[in-house]
């Protein structure tokens, strides 16, 4: 315990230096802004900022870059709630319940709740990083392809009832998403698949381009024909509207904690990311909720769980990175690159070799998250005012930001065509009532399912029972089976009861 306190003290000494505070503030502010701007995500922003940090002290550089990363998760939900346009690819799920809330005139409330969720989710994961990083990392090492496959399959099952409307259309869109995910390079053979000779498609469609097209560009296109004016009337919205009532608090806190736990778990697994975390949190919340019919209509639970999850996952992604030297997701991989180029090789010794850096970074997470809370709550008023900007000015600006954001991820003009193509597709899908979220679900989970299934088969030499022989994998498959039963059982029982009724 004494050692722990000494570490916290050391961390605070590092994180509270004037330079660290300044760059932490800079990082979280930039993060919030790139999060709010549709299309420009944390990956692009960190990639752009990275060369600037070559001249900073390594710990300070990391504090700033990490600030951009988790700051973007705070900002990402803003555009989702207000405009039905995800600010980052990972906050697409926030549109589902965030935007309906805004339509009901509860935009300030929704924004306030996401700020709180984000803070709770982050704090939950930071506590885990502080207290149990090496332990959790050791568990993460037990996860191999068989386990990943079962977790992803569970996620897919849990999410299968996620969308509202026709289940058949939802299912068709999941399959469509999986098909889109097949474009790219076959991991086992290195062959280019379905890329039609286009080298830019050798890594598949960019997630940012698909998400921004289906959600962002499509939303704008659907609104273009509407009578001119502003998206919403914001007059009469008061500060008081921001604060949840007592029954609302009660709706929020359990989903927030569940979302934090799911997000921390997913985040600590290398090779996943906040997108999967928020999808799974939303899906699970809908399954366990007593009021699943409210999901998609502006449910506070449906807003809280994914928001807590994506923030928790971002912080938890530092667990494998800092304790094993294995990056938790693509963005942390870039952060790890930043460490290496400052002469710090992440590995299993990092926590012992660089205590000032490790604890300084962890304590800066607390400081950064507090700054974000303080920064974001007063900004709500400003963001809500965005809604009074007329369409004719707002939409061209957003399209521009989307194009810049998609381009800046890889400096690739091709991605701009992709985003516009998916925009048209997304518009047509809306027009005919095909939901976009299942596409994203299939697109994210499909390739992971395939990759891990095939790798598990390589390891087991084609023996399918491997998924049942490994305990963690078997547990998730069982959980998936329970979910499936809970989906079909009510229907079966009803039919059974009906039949008995007609007989009797």
């Amino acid at each position: 315990m004494e050692g722990f306190l000494a570490h916290v003290q050391l961390g605070l000494a590092t994180a509270l230096s004037a330079e660290a505070l300044l760059f932490c503030f800079l990082g979280v502010t930039v993060g919030t802004i790139v999060g709010v701007l549709p299309g420009i995500g944390a990956l692009a922003a960190i990639s752009l900022a990275l060369p600037l940090t070559y001249y900073l002290d390594p710990t300070v550089a990391l504090i700033m870059l990490a600030g951009i990363f988790y700051g973007a998760q705070y900002g990402g939900s803003t555009a989702s709630i207000l405009l039905n346009l995800p600010g980052t690819a990972t906050s697409a799920i926030t549109c589902l319940d965030g935007y309906p809330l805004a339509q009901k005139g509860k935009a300030p409330l929704a924004l306030f709740v996401t700020a709180i969720n984000s803070f709770v989710g982050s704090s939950f994961a930071i506590v885990l990083v502080m207290g149990f990083a090496p332990m959790i990392a050791a568990i993460a090492l037990k996860f191999s392809s068989a386990e990943y496959f079962s977790v992803m399959l569970f996620g897919l099952i849990a999410a299968s009832t996620m969308s509202v409307g026709s289940p058949l259309k939802g299912l068709a869109m999941v399959v469509f998403g999986i098909a889109l995910g097949q474009v790219g390079t076959d991991v086992n053979t290195g062959m280019f698949r379905f890329n039609f000779g286009i080298l830019e498609l050798a890594d598949g469609f960019s997630l940012v381009a698909v998400a921004m097209g289906l959600f962002g560009v499509a939303e704008i296109m659907s609104n273009v024909g509407q009578p001119s004016g502003a998206p919403m009337n914001v007059k009469g919205m008061r500060f008081r509207d921001m604060l949840p009532t007592r029954p609302e608090w009660r709706q929020i806190w359990m989903p927030t904690l569940r979302g934090s736990a799911i997000g921390s778990f997913i985040g600590a697994l290398p090779g996943t990311g906040p997108g999967i975390a928020s999808l799974m949190a939303y899906a699970t919340e809908k399954r366990v909720s007593r009021a699943p019919s409210e999901f998609g209509q502006g449910s506070l639970a449906g807003l809280s769980a994914p928001e807590a999850a994506n923030n928790a996952s971002v912080q938890a992604a530092f667990i494998p990175t800092l304790s094993l030297g294995i990056p938790g997701d693509a963005v942390v991989a870039v952060l790890m690159g930043a460490m290496i180029l400052h002469g710090i090789q992440p590995g299993p010794n990092l926590i012992n070799d660089q205590p000032a850096m490790f604890w300084g970074l962890i304590m800066s997470f607390w400081i950064g998250n507090l700054m974000l809370l303080v920064l974001n709550v007063p900004l709500i008023g400003l963001w809500v005012r965005l809604l009074s900007i007329p369409y004719s000015l707002l939409y061209p600006a957003i399209i521009l930001f989307i194009c810049i954001g998609v381009y800046s991820a890889d400096n690739n003009v091709f991605d701009i065509y992709v985003v516009l193509g998916f925009g048209v597709l997304g518009y047509l899908m809306r027009r005919y009532g095909y939901p976009a979220t299942p596409v994203l679900l299939g697109f994210i989970l499909g390739p992971l399912l395939e990759e891990h299934f095939r790798r598990a088969m390589l390891f087991s030499r084609g023996d399918l029972t491997v998924f049942l022989q490994r305990p963690i994998s078997a547990a998730f498959l069982l959980l998936g089976a329970v979910f499936l039963l809970s989906i079909f059982l009510p229907g079966l029982r009803r039919r059974f009861a009906l039949r008995r009724g007609t007989r009797g």
Partner: protein, 354 residues
């Protein structure tokens, strides 16, 4: 056609000579041997350039330096450091552009299609500038004929690592096991066609064994499975693995270069471990599109050579375990042909050609 075949055969002879264990002292590696071998040839061919008047004032505008990967990796860092030095020498900005995709081939393809005037350069790597040509029939460019290399800047050997608690203590243990159990000893790589994958295939070819290749998307997840006990081995980056060797999690069996590596002292080379002539390594170099005026290439080569002498780069190389090469344009061109030939042979033996 005959000329091309002839050159590759000649170059390949060079490769086998290079691979032989040499008692050579000093830090420069096998590429250096090629340099000596080819120094005479390049002189005879009259490639020692006479500065043409038109290119005398090069560069007169900013140079764009394409890195075919995202920022933060070793290729990006190397390009930025070299770019900084070139900028201060030439008095013109050198702008690093990250054009990532398809293992570096998107960036390489972009540079091939640019004007051959020395204002668009590529930080080329083993995968996109050699192995891809051996592996892919659908590669939209030819790394041998469509690039004029300025210099192969650095090389870095790999290391065969196993978990510290495994029963494999020597390379011979691995060979014996793999011979007794064909196709069961697993080695994980960051993907098909990476230098780690090719080195594994070369190992199988040279030892007459059959290994089970497990490809990942990037080395992080492979390392996770190796540490977690799912995977038997990796032919891996020395810098990354040296941390796990220090912590006692991984055991290095042999390095794939021709001499001991300074980050892994006491670890034998493959040749010392019983595979005579084994040599494989990844490398990085500066490339221009084919047809770049020789005077421009020479000026760039002089600039890169000077950059390699700076303390900043020397320090970075020592820290990251890079071996300095810095060979000239002619030697680099021959080296690329050599590498393509070497990996073509491995790809064909393993039946991987697509």
């Amino acid at each position: 056609m005959t000329r091309k075949t002839h050159r590759i055969t000649m170059a390949y002879k060079g490769a086998t000579q290079m691979g032989a264990p040499t008692p050579q002292q000093g830090t420069r590696t096998m590429i250096h041997t090629v340099k000596t071998l080819l120094a005479g040839a390049s002189l005879a061919l009259g490639l020692a350039a006479l500065p043409a008047l038109a290119q005398d004032d090069y560069p007169t505008k900013p140079i764009s330096f394409v890195v075919p990967f995202n920022p933060g990796g070793s290729t990006d860092l190397l390009a930025r450091k070299i770019g900084e030095s070139l900028a201060s020498q030439f008095g013109q900005p050198v702008v690093v552009e990250n054009r990532a995709g398809a293992g570096g081939t998107v960036g390489a393809n972009y540079v091939v299609r640019s004007d051959a005037d020395g204002y668009t350069l590529l930080m080329g790597v083993t995968g996109a500038n050699a192995i891809s040509a051996a592996l892919r029939s659908d590669l939209p460019y030819d790394p041998v004929t469509e690039f004029d290399p300025v210099s192969i800047v650095i090389s870095s050997p790999l290391v065969l690592v196993v978990r510290a608690d495994s029963d494999f203590n020597t390379v011979q243990d691995v060979i014996d096991y793999a011979k007794a159990n064909p196709g069961t000893f697993t080695h994980g790589t960051p993907g098909v066609g990476t230098s780690m994958h090719m080195t594994g295939e070369l190992f199988a070819l040279e030892t007459g064994t059959e290994l089970l290749h497990i490809p990942y998307k990037g080395s992080a997840e492979a390392l996770q499975d190796l540490l977690g006990g799912q995977l038997d081995s990796m032919f891996a980056d020395i810098l990354v693995t040296s941390e796990y060797v220090k912590s006692g999690d991984l055991r290095p069996l042999a390095v794939t270069g021709t001499q001991e590596h300074f980050l892994l002292e006491g670890v034998p080379t493959m040749a010392e471990a019983g595979i005579p002539g084994f040599a494989a390594f990844s490398w990085q170099g500066v490339f221009a599109p084919a047809g770049t005026p020789p005077a421009v290439l020479d000026k760039l080569y002089a600039g890169v050579s000077a950059a390699l002498e700076t303390e900043e780069l020397k320090e970075m190389f020592a820290q990251r375990g890079f071996l300095v090469e810095g060979i000239d344009p002619a030697a680099s061109k021959a080296f690329i042909a050599d590498e393509v030939a070497k990996w073509t042979k491995v790809v064909e033996a393993a039946g991987l050609r697509q």
